[in-house]
């Protein structure tokens, strides 16, 4: 059938090919998700869509256009900045300042010991106290954290998954002791353990008991805390770990399905709890894809919940918080990060998020300062007050491109969801390690694209700044924080009713054995001033502590560099090294302390192996002493320490000491990679660190430097 449209299209195609000198069939590009992006979209692209309904309006099923009819025209999204560091006193100060400057909700970041259920006085956590978040050991800390912040008026979001029972209990008790009943508390607890097993690794117990805890919390809050979101099902950390948008979307929704099933198994009615399920997505730099992702997420969740038999409209609607991408931030030319964050924020808004955190530009290096936090907040204030984006709901609806992309993304994600379901759901898939491996594969591909220059990162692999600006960062003296916390713990332990503590902990253990609700019991223990660590350890007696097994991808990185000169150069050096030394260069890649972000370590391991290194992977959560033993027994040439949680100033010198203790003549060189502020470089070099690789370091160049350093060390001694 010949129509005016197809005439126009033929004409356009001719012009396009004349201008570009490229055949139209070859002019498409492909995204990380494997989605084809065409140079132009037409009406034909939005006919026969599988998931999207072109006639639907905002607040109408399948909710592609937004959860509410009026969206930001009635009330803009909530500016909810995630923050927390050092002691409860200092974080409380910081929160109050932010609230005065226009922030609307709070979002608490806890330090790693709290996440992993250790008190600040535990030997295992000496490098981590107060570093990547605030240290909470008892309800007294929680009370200080919300000092002068009325909990019946402020919605509080808490990123807590591992030690979710004692921390949520502390929040509830802190409310009570402010004279706020728990049914008035509003906010969100992340409580999303499945993604911890996939990417973030701040779990405590094995998957099955962890799922029971999630279900207990959903059960308790659905009855006692009607204004509180019992879970924030999070894809954020998956994208941060390198997942593409299809994986992020599909795994998040598949997690959601698993939580729904866990809650249903408690005998709850779906409409009793589903309205309090909330979501959390990352917004990266792929502008239109991120918009499409949020629209697709709502569309798919509607379908999922309908299939579960939900009837209440609120159960069918996906509400989400978003955060701009941390992994898109660069250490190099850091002011570029303000620009990246702004575009990402705009994506989130055009996608229709309910609340948003915008990153500070210095977060690739350290925790935000007052000044950088202000710029981050203002990014949102400007969007709300100056740009006019709040005046129209879902302004991109009807765009041939956006609608088609939304549908395409939905289709791809649905395939992945079905794959997970065919494995028996996410708990089983996680136990088998499938999603973790898929995400690592995706991460390695992305890294290879940047290192090979096929993906441009401004200021990193192209358009470099000849004069890197100096940036002041926030410094946490974690030894001081730790001392403060230990003093507080000791005071509380001295003044509490020990018998009451013991009894309530014993009841908690019994509840775990009898499979009754654990949140109620842990509230009692916390009220009696049991510590976060004590509550966690009590449950550990019943459930044990989970240790992840670790699979690795191989060959994914190297594939991007077939014939690449720099890459070949390193493999050649490795081969020469092997001939000269009778073995390949051998490197132990480790994480130390409680920092579980292992994306960087995994990428370094797989890419070094692809270049011919023998790479030993250490387990997560090792102490410097364990690392030294491992390194010496395997006679490695070098140790690569990956650090993203600011523990390096304590842990790295400790490692150097341990190496010398086992082997005073040790020639093992140590290099450090990850988030390290430049201010710390000298300190590390003084501790005999051979090299430091910040975020955005090119891995091939790093590998070459490492093999050169190893060779130098060997020759120096011969």
């Amino acid at each position: 059938m010949k129509t005016k449209n197809s005439d126009n299209y033929t004409k356009w195609q001719k012009s396009f090919e004349r201008e570009t000198k490229i055949d139209l069939n070859e002019a498409s590009s492909e995204t990380d998700e494997g989605i084809e992006i065409k140079p132009v979209y037409t009406k034909a692209d939005i006919e026969n869509l599988s998931f999207v309904d072109n006639d639907s309006l905002p607040g109408q099923l399948p909710y592609t256009r937004g959860p509410k009819a009026s969206m930001y025209t009635n009330r803009p999204w909530t500016i909810r900045q995630y923050a927390g560091f050092s002691t409860a006193e200092e974080s409380n100060d910081f929160y109050k300042k932010n609230l005065k400057s226009g922030q609307k909700g709070l979002s608490v970041a806890f330090d790693l010991p709290t996440h992993r259920g250790y008190d600040s006085d535990d030997d295992l956590v000496m490098g981590d106290v107060g570093k990547a978040g605030v240290a909470i050991d008892t309800v007294e800390d929680m009370k200080i954290l919300f000092n002068d912040i009325p909990l019946d008026q402020m919605s509080v979001s808490m990123t807590m998954n591992g030690a979710v029972l004692p921390v949520l209990s502390s929040f509830i008790v802190a409310g009570e002791e402010q004279n706020v009943n728990k049914n008035l508390l509003s906010g969100t607890i992340q409580n999303d353990i499945l993604k911890e097993f996939m990417v973030r690794n701040t779990y405590i117990y094995p998957p099955d008991p962890s799922m029971k805890i999630v279900a207990d919390i959903i059960e308790f809050t659905s009855k006692e805390m009607p204004k509180f979101n019992s879970i924030s099902i999070s894809g954020y950390h998956m994208q941060e770990a390198g997942a593409d948008n299809v994986l992020e979307l599909a795994y998040t929704l598949a997690d959601g399905m698993e939580y729904v099933r866990a809650a249903l198994s408690k005998g709850l009615d779906i409409d009793d709890f589903a309205p309090r399920l909330s979501f959390f997505f990352a917004i990266g730099t792929d502008f239109f894809m991120e918009i499409a992702k949020l629209r697709a997420a709502r569309t798919l969740w509607y379908k999922i919940m309908k299939d579960f038999g939900a009837k209440n409209e609120k159960s069918l609607i996906l509400r989400t918080h978003c955060q701009t991408s941390g992994v898109s931030l660069t250490e190099k030319d850091p002011y570029n990060n303000i620009i990246r964050t702004s575009y990402e924020a705009l994506s989130a808004i055009l996608g229709g998020t309910q609340s948003l955190h915008t990153n500070s530009f210095d977060e690739a290096i350290a925790l935000p300062t007052d000044e950088s936090a202000r710029i981050a907040r203002n990014t949102q204030l400007i969007l709300q007050n100056e740009t006019g984006v709040t005046n129209t709901v879902d302004p991109l609806a009807g765009s041939y491109f956006i609608e088609s992309l939304t549908d395409e993304l939905s289709k791809k994600a649905w395939e992945v969801i079905e794959e997970i379901e065919s494995l028996g759901g996410m708990t089983k898939a996680v136990k088998a390690g499938v999603p973790k491996l898929k995400i690592e594969e995706s991460a390695t591909k992305k890294q290879a694209k940047v290192d090979s220059g096929s993906r441009v990162v401004v200021g990193v692999n192209k358009f470099k700044n000849p004069k890197e600006p100096k940036v002041d960062v926030r410094v946490i003296d974690n030894n001081r924080v730790r001392d403060d916390q230990i003093k507080k713990i000791n005071d509380i332990k001295a003044s509490r009713d020990q018998k009451a503590v013991d009894e309530s902990l014993a009841k908690l253990v019994t509840a775990a054995k009898e499979d009754s609700n654990l949140l109620a019991r842990s509230i009692d223990a916390i009220k009696n001033r049991a510590t976060v660590g004590e509550v966690s350890k009590a449950l550990e007696q019943v459930y044990g502590r989970h240790f992840a097994t670790s699979l690795s991808v191989s060959g994914v990185y190297g594939k991007h560099f077939e014939g690449d000169e720099d890459f070949m150069n390193v493999t050649k050096k490795v081969n020469i090294f092997e001939e000269e030394n009778g073995r390949r260069p051998r490197v132990l890649v480790v994480k130390m302390g409680q920092d579980g972000h292992d994306r960087g370590a995994k990428i370094v391991a797989t890419s070094f192996a692809d270049m011919g290194f023998d790479v030993d992977m250490g387990p997560l959560f090792q102490s410097p002493k364990d690392v030294a033993k491992d390194a010496i027994e395997n006679d490695v040439h070098a140790i690569g320490v990956s650090t993203l949680a600011a523990g390096h100033k304590t842990l790295v010198p400790e490692l150097m000491k341990s190496l010398k203790e086992i082997d005073p003549k040790s020639k093992i060189i140590v290099f450090v990679g990850g988030v390290i502020p430049e201010q710390d470089y000298n300190f590390l070099y003084e501790n005999n660190i051979s090299a430091i690789f910040g975020p955005g370091s090119n891995i091939i160049e790093s590998a070459e430097k490492v093999i050169d350093l190893i060779s130098d060390k060997i020759h120096e001694h011969n």
């Binding site: 391991a605 192996a609 992977m617 395997n634 006679d635 082997d663 040790s666």
Partner: protein
């Protein structure tokens, strides 16, 4: 030699360096390595060498972590040689075994060494035998050698260890048909792992499959009986039975001299292998220097002489050198 003393004293760094030496592909190192091993063989320890093999995914490392924890709690010293198969096209590898041996790797009474297999000897790495001699001299009570794949059973059982055990998962009984012969012949112990949770009944079914399979095996009076054991690495159950079985087999085999005979056979095999390697090395060197192969094969191509004449001439040539 100073290194020998340090090894015998149990110095961790010395043991590690010695293992590097015996694994090295450098000619100089090979000579050093032979000297070192000769000296260490004069100072034998009392280690029992146990081999663990099994298909991927049955939880070998997890079992070793669990069983190892049981042993070190009983104050045994434990050396572990993990042969990691993840060799890649480029030759590099990721050695990830230790991520599954978290607790025992911290323990001062263990020594854990991973080695890339490099595809040699069907999964056993160059130097594994020598490494176990080093750990023996260093005073470890048990030396575990872990490899992947059932294909290595024969090499491992006949060359390296005193006891060879195969770890299998629930439901693996079906595969038994195809590999029965090799298994019944070489394995001393069958360990059915994952005897926990939902898999319990499947695991005991698999155990009885194995039991009936080995019952066909002709028993001889002087060898210890093969055993099938059910364990759960995750729940750490069945471990006392594993150590009991190992000790029983050892003491029975020692009584009827099977233990020493096996070691003697392994020793003979080793000598044979070394001789073969040296001769091969020398011949290859000669062939390189000689150059007559290419000349004579050209003559064969040109139809001037017969192929067998050429072979005859070349061998004569090499033998006379």
């Amino acid at each position: 030699m100073q290194l020998v003393e340090k090894i015998i004293k149990g110095e961790r760094a010395a043991i590690a360096k010695a293992i590097t030496l015996v694994e090295s592909s450098r000619e100089n190192d090979k000579n050093e390595s032979r000297k070192l091993i000769s000296e260490l063989l004069n100072k034998p320890g009392k280690s029992i060498r146990v081999g663990f093999s099994g298909p991927p995914g049955v939880g070998k490392s997890t079992f070793i972590e669990s069983f190892g924890r049981y042993l070190v709690e009983k104050n045994y010293k434990l050396g572990i040689l993990a042969i990691d198969p993840s060799s890649q096209i480029t030759g590099g590898s990721i050695l990830g075994d230790k991520t599954r041996m978290i607790e025992i790797s911290k323990n001062p009474n263990t020594f854990i060494r991973s080695t890339p297999s490099r595809g040699s000897l069907g999964g056993i790495s160059v130097g594994t035998r020598e490494a176990s001699i080093i750990l023996d001299a260093a005073g470890y009570d048990f030396i575990f050698i872990e490899t992947v794949g059932v294909g290595q059973s024969e090499t491992m059982a006949t060359n390296l260890v005193d006891i060879f055990s195969l770890i299998v998962g629930p439901g693996s009984g079906d595969e038994l048909q195809g590999i029965k012969k090799g298994i019944t012949e070489y394995a001393d112990i069958f360990i059915v792992n994952k005897n926990d949770g939902d898999l319990k009944s499947e695991a005991s079914k698999t155990a009885s499959d194995y039991k009936s399979a080995i019952s066909y095996y002709k028993k001889s009076n002087d060898t210890a009986d093969k055993e099938v054991l059910l364990v759960s690495a995750i729940e750490q159950t069945g471990m006392e039975k594993v150590i009991e079985t190992i000790q029983n087999i050892v003491s029975q085999n020692k009584k009827n001299k099977n233990f020493d005979e096996r070691r003697a056979k392994q020793f003979t095999y080793w000598i044979e292998e070394e001789v073969r390697e040296i001769i091969q090395f020398n011949i290859q060197k000669k062939i390189k220097e000689d150059g007559s192969i290419s000349q004579l094969s050209q003559k064969v191509m040109d139809g001037k002489i017969q192929m067998f004449e050429a072979i005859e001439a070349i061998t004569q040539n090499l033998q006379n050198k």
